[in-house]
């Protein structure tokens, strides 16, 4: 079992590393620590952050690929190698257990009738039972409720156990802090109760659904019989990748260009302003669509560049992220330029210049630190917009590869299912729920970050 990483995997883990470095720096700096305590002192921000962390963990769990040897089928004894992520392994029972076609959540039978020939050759239309739903209790209602209670109590126990672990770590941390006596620091009270309740609800739901998924398709199955719950979870990675990595791609562009335009002024400023006005004047979706179209046709003409279809899909995702990044740096760049112009007029920058400091030292020491709040606010604000944009782009046909699991692709398919009679609603609903939870959490967290880090708000309070 050798792990292998796709390009997007590497980028996601690199982002994780960056986040860890950032957290370490925040913890080391007293002022930043206070600021972030203030962010988390809001109950909604605390709950939202936990939801975001959980999503990010799912995405990470889906971002290491192991080569696993399997037998493709009983008849064909030849060994084939498939790639699985830890998330796939945990849900491997759902990959194996696919049905023939649509089935509703918790259904025991297929959604539409099929024509059946019985032994006498009689033709009848029946709802066929699902192949992978445990039917040992379907006749007896009592055992069904007993089953639910049993799985719920397991989930409850798991959640309590995890909370106990968290509480112990938390208590230990407090104990250490008490022993060291952070002198002079007035800690802002954090809403730990909210945090515990959120963790409990999330863990309980996750474990409960997971346990049920062994015997049921908790969110139904899609047209080709794939489990929708698993599909939705696989889509988390795509959403997170597009939301988080795009901002990382655009950040260096916006920073370098914005600061140089604002600091060096003159012809550099003119060129950069011209650049972003031009890019800005092309409607975003159209520019992205045009770039993706061109990328698609290059990939079609050079099919030999890519080993497997997974690699191809992954590269397409990477291209999409790059294109989104390249087309969306203009807003932040303009903001940074304006702010740099303002800061470079302030006395301490003039003083630094008078001392003979080089421009790069001044930028690094005096300008960058004063821009960080803008950057951070822009990053968290953009995240939810990008997750939403992914769905729209996939719908238009210029988003991720149709084989890549994503909420946009799920909605796109669901659109065709709307025309069915009776309607197939569950894949749309689960895409909705998973996406809504992520975007809502991101929006709420972004609001709070903006409120705390924006110096203008602090003076009003």
């Amino acid at each position: 079992m050798m792990p292998s990483f796709y390009w997007t995997d590497i980028m996601l883990w690199a982002l994780f590393g960056l986040l860890l470095v950032a957290i370490k720096q925040i913890l080391a700096d007293k002022q930043k620590r206070q600021q972030w305590r203030q962010v988390f002192s809001s109950k909604t921000a605390m709950a939202a952050a936990i939801v975001l962390v959980v999503y990010f963990m799912v995405a990470l769990a889906d971002s290491i690929h192991f080569n696993v040897e399997t037998q493709s089928s009983a008849q064909n004894a030849a060994q084939t190698t498939i790639q699985m992520t830890p998330l796939d392994m945990v849900f491997s029972h759902l990959i194996v257990k696919t049905e023939r076609t649509y089935s509703a959540p918790f259904a025991s039978h297929e959604y539409s009738r099929s024509i059946v020939y019985d032994e006498q050759g009689q033709v009848s239309q029946q709802f066929l039972p699902l192949q992978h739903v445990a039917d040992y209790f379907s006749n007896d209602d009592k055992s069904a409720s007993w089953y639910l209670v049993k799985q719920a109590s397991w989930a409850f126990m798991a959640a309590v156990l995890l909370l106990f672990v968290f509480a112990s770590i938390h208590a230990y941390g407090k104990f250490v802090a008490f022993a060291q006596l952070h002198a002079g620091e007035h800690p802002i009270k954090l809403p730990w109760q909210t945090a515990y309740v959120t963790v409990f609800i999330l863990v309980f739901t996750a474990v409960f659904l997971y346990l049920l998924s062994f015997d049921y398709h908790v969110l139904g199955t899609s047209k080709v019989g794939d489990d929708v719950f698993y599909q939705s979870l696989k889509s988390v990675r795509t959403g997170i990748l597009i939301g988080a990595l795009t901002t990382v791609v655009m950040l260096p562009l916006a920073l370098v260009l914005g600061i140089s335009a604002g600091y060096f002024k003159g012809w550099i400023d003119d060129i950069i302003q011209y650049l972003y006005t031009t890019l800005n004047s092309i409607p975003g979706v159209l520019l992205i669509a045009a770039a993706v179209l061109v990328m698609q046709s290059i990939m079609a003409n050079n099919a030999d560049w890519f080993g497997s279809s997974e690699e191809r899909a992954d590269l397409r995702l990477l291209f999409l992220i790059l294109i989104l990044g390249i087309t969306s740096w203009t807003g932040l760049c303009r903001l940074l330029r304006a702010e740099t112009l303002k800061i470079s007029q302030i006395e301490y920058v003039t003083a630094a210049k008078a001392f003979g400091m080089g421009p790069f030292t001044i930028i690094r020491r005096h300008i960058m630190p004063n821009l960080m709040h803008l950057v951070l606010i822009a990053l968290v604000l953009d995240f939810s917009g990008l997750v939403l944009a992914e769905a729209v782009l996939s719908y238009v046909g210029v988003g991720v590869d149709p084989t890549t699991p994503s909420w946009g692709n799920m909605i796109n398919q669901a659109r065709l299912e709307m025309a069915r009679e009776p309607m197939v609603w569950w894949s749309l609903l689960s895409a909705f729920c998973f996406m809504f939870a992520l975007v809502l959490a991101a929006n709420l967290f972004a609001d709070r970050v903006q409120w705390v880090l924006n110096p203008r708000n602090n003076t009003e309070k």
Binding site: P283, L286, L287, V294, A300, V396, A414, F432
Partner: protein
């Protein structure tokens, strides 16, 4: 004023040339005419002769930037780049892959786009401003906080869901309006009412939050304090003073959107089967019709630049503090 407008128009020229360069680079350099021909003719049985004929048919057989076969000024002008650019600037978009004139298509499809975008825009704007003022009136209360929570929730839902939910609820289950389609006749409103309402609703979250913050900023100004000190009621302060002054940033922010209304809404039009420019573009993207996409990119940026110029002019017109210089 006149000189100012002319100067602004002149300033737009390099930007349009830049846009043109970007689209040209995307559609002719990264994706060469040979690739286009192969994609269009089908990859399998294409001979070099067929590709050459296809290119000659469209005038794509010229060199990109520099024609060494010609002498004098023609070395520059008899090239693909100049020929294509001149056509674009004359709004002659050429033929689509299906052989239709793009300019004629654009003109025809502009009206359905406007029919849906204009009411959405006007109703949306008035609703958002009215709601925002109402919320500002109740600022700091539970109503304010609830409204803001609802606004964030509305913002967090993808527009695709509003469209699908609206279609299922009002067209499929209640059967009030047709699911999709368009008509030029007297029953046109039947086809428009649902997309317009969905468009308005989907925009409420972000819109109300935005306008609320503008009004809140305004409300801390000195003149508001003066007005209150005069003994004016809060409602009169809000609607008489704050709204008037808050409308300036709103107005200037809104003007830039007006020209782009021609483009319509990509997603909305394609979901509701409205034959506007939005669905035109989506169909072109899905059919990989580069000529149409190229034309729409150019048209979109022209409209955006017109919007920017209009914004500047309206700014100077409505705010006497801003002088044209």
């Amino acid at each position: 004023m006149f000189a100012y407008i002319v100067r602004r128009l002149l300033f737009a020229v390099p930007i349009l040339i830049g846009v043109n360069l970007i689209t040209f680079a995307l559609f002719f350099m990264v994706n060469t005419p040979d690739d286009m021909a192969r994609a269009q003719l089908g990859a399998k049985q294409t001979t070099p002769q067929m590709i050459a004929a296809w290119k000659a048919d469209r005038g794509y057989d010229k060199p990109l930037f520099f024609n060494s076969e010609q002498g004098g000024i023609e070395t520059i002008t008899d090239t693909l780049f100049v020929q294509e650019s001149v056509k674009l600037f004359q709004f002659d978009f050429g033929q689509s892959d299906s052989g239709r004139q793009i300019s004629a298509d654009v003109y025809e499809r502009m009206w359905p786009s406007l029919a849906i975008a204009l009411p959405t825009f006007i109703i949306g704007l008035t609703t958002n401003i009215a709601l925002a003022l109402l919320i500002v009136l109740f600022r700091g209360t539970t109503l304010d906080r609830t409204a803001m929570a609802v606004a964030v929730a509305i913002m967090s839902i993808s527009g695709l869901f509003y469209i699908i939910a609206g279609q299922v609820l009002f067209s499929k289950m209640l059967n009030w309006v047709p699911i999709s389609g368009y008509s030029d006749g007297t029953d046109f409103w039947k086809f428009l009412i649902l997309p317009v309402l969905i468009g308005v609703f989907a925009g409420i979250g972000a819109g109300v939050r935005w306008y609320r913050s503008i009004f809140l900023e305004e409300i801390h100004r000195d003149y508001v304090r003066t007005a209150r000190a005069k003994g004016l009621s809060e409602v009169r302060v809000l609607f008489g003073h704050v709204m008037q002054n808050g409308l300036l940033p709103i107005l200037t922010g809104v003007v830039v959107v007006i020209p782009t209304l021609f483009m319509g809404s990509l997603i909305m039009e394609s979901f509701f089967g409205i034959p506007g420019l939005g669905s035109y573009t989506i169909e072109a993207i899905q059919a990989q019709d580069f000529a149409i996409v190229k034309a729409m990119v150019f048209l979109g940026s022209v409209l955006y630049i017109i919007g920017l110029i209009l914004t500047d002019i309206s700014y100077t017109y409505f705010d006497p503090r801003v002088k044209l210089s």
